[in-house]
Symmetry: D3
Subunit: 153 residues, 6 copies
């Protein structure tokens, strides 16, 4: 969603402290892998929490609390895997430009696999795959910062 993207945008400036909307009217600061990284981390956290949930006691009340928690965690995982995917695809489709393909010949492959990991993480409760997703986002984050650095030369 454009709202998501716009919010994401300035996250990088928080870290890098570049002026907002620096030298172009559709600001170069607008893109950032930060939101995707947070979402991937949230998927991971939900998987971990779901996996570590203590077996509830036998009382009806404890059973209910447990179920309330599971439903809410599954929903949180679902929405953050979706956010992660959207954020990555915004970077791929809007931030990266033809000149970046020369710098990163595996650009398309990298994003493609990361997007497929998002879908996998929706469908499963799998801590190892959530870790893979975080790693994939970290790799993309690295490409992004290299592209940013290249801009400043």
């Amino acid at each position: 969603m454009s709202v998501l993207r716009t919010v994401t945008a300035t996250l990088d400036r928080w870290l890098g402290i570049e002026p907002l909307y620096a030298h172009c009217d559709v600001p170069c600061g607008i893109y950032d892998p930060y939101q995707a990284a947070v979402a991937a981390k949230t998927v991971f956290t939900m998987d971990k929490k779901l996996t570590e949930l203590p077996t509830p006691g036998a009382s009806a009340q404890e059973q209910l609390e447990h179920r309330n928690t599971v439903v809410r965690m599954v929903q949180t995982k679902e929405s953050h895997a979706q956010i992660c995917k959207q954020e990555l695809l915004i970077l791929w489709s809007d931030y990266f430009k033809p000149e970046h393909l020369a710098m990163f010949p595996d650009l398309h492959e990298t994003f493609w696999k990361a997007a497929k990991l998002c879908s996998y993480n929706k469908q499963h409760v799998d801590v190892a795959k959530a870790q893979e997703l975080m790693d994939a986002v970290a790799k993309i984050s690295d490409l992004f910062h290299k592209a940013e650095a290249a801009k400043k030369k």
Copy 2:
């Protein structure tokens, strides 16, 4: 929302691999460039209608009707350009598999350019670019149907 629907389809295939709507004319049905094509067409139609809107009369009432229409058409264009982009990226990230890259070496490039066209069409009222978007979706639709045909061999 299209996100929900798209998730659904993935679910189907992940679990049962049954074609949703098996015996209809959209058979493998779960992935389909159809929605993207419709959205691209809607963007085109909005651009065309905006361009051809008659100059309103001078009365306050005619002016108001005119403005009501412009706001609604811009919003419709915006949301359909977004839908088009989402639908295309779902095809790219979920439907197409590594084996398709051998069949369509320009797969990534094709989707990348189409996604960029969606963003352009949000930012402008440009009939020619909306036509380009429709053509890009038609090309993707062609890839899709070739991939489907290959499955059945």
Copy 3:
């Protein structure tokens, strides 16, 4: 009229965007029972899959995967039953005109019952009732295509 066109409006309406061009050059294409049919089919598929889910093994991991799947399928059923209902009610309220009542004296009853079936299918996991919903949508689809055919005479 191309198939493409016929779905355009469905999308619009699915998004809560009222068709803007009721008497314009995209008229017959604006309404379509297709989306409702897909949604009904999805409800049916979710019911079927839920009913046929294998009992998970005793391991915590298998239990978790199972619960992840159930929550996601119930949510998918819910949203598609809602989409089906919305799509049908758009056809009823916007597509069908007074002249169609003469052609289809049971028009109102037909839609009324189908809408009630959508609500029923949210509240239950009932394959037979999901089948009834698909049949109801198929009947409505038939009315729609008869109305379209009458236009062209």
Copy 4:
């Protein structure tokens, strides 16, 4: 949306003070024409405000304020016409039961026309038609309260 409906639900109990979820598991108290009436009133108010907006001064700032206001009012009108329609269709499809058709032979026609008025009001800035919509909702409200009264006998 189910949220909308559920919220609406208790509005009638505010007026009628019936226990929530009284004697059925899909509570008889849940339906109410109140939300639709409020939405129709909002459409009317937006039309009136749009019609009465003073011509802005010539300064760029006044022009901007004016445009900000118009866009926001058109959007408010759009969403409330949509809410009105949804609320009415929920009453029609879920609240009214076959036994009510005997009491109100024009039930279907009444709702059909009201729904069509909602669509009209989206597409235009027309105070008289917004008044018609409020009247249509008032008529439906009357049917509703008669149906409620009949229940208590």
Copy 5:
């Protein structure tokens, strides 16, 4: 001021539409604690229903129906606790003005605690806490009506 008017604004705000007419002729109607009260009541009802759900029979079908119901009730509770919170915070931030602080020195504390109760009720299935939430909203409703009464003097 008619009852109808008083709820208009609540709807607006629920939809994220900021009231456009703060100093206009529909002023007293714009804010209302009614929506929050309904939402709190819905949270209470969901907790009660969840707590009282009969243990399902051993058949797979009964188990499925039971799970369908639990997921739907947890979701309904979640969304209504969120609506309740939003509605309360709109009253606090938009309706109450500096002059009300003199009338109600504990205004901020009252809202703060009520908002925290909303969050608690999302995270738990706790009938007693849902009752506390209803009481908190009732207290706020009382402040609101006192503020309204003061206006008319």
Copy 6:
């Protein structure tokens, strides 16, 4: 606590997903004034861009482009003012605890005024007021970081 973690919760809450793990091992990271600051900055940027938009040429095409841009900027401003408000109110209602009131006696007032500024900025195109909003969020950010620092002692 990593930077990554600290934003996770903001996202959750922005999506209406209440943090599930209030006393768990991801505690200090869950709340963050960052999202609100980005949203306030976006409101400011939209006001600035709207104010500085060049007068379009007389051609129909230039007029259309101009209107497309205005509608989109007003919408972006609206949604970010709303996000800013939501983010601030989450901090106020969920992050800050009774012990913080002793540290920050003007806590409630500070948030109250900032929330009112969000509403003002929706209703107007006013660069100075958007600057005030950014300042208000910066002040809140300062309170937040002081509260965080106090935790670690």
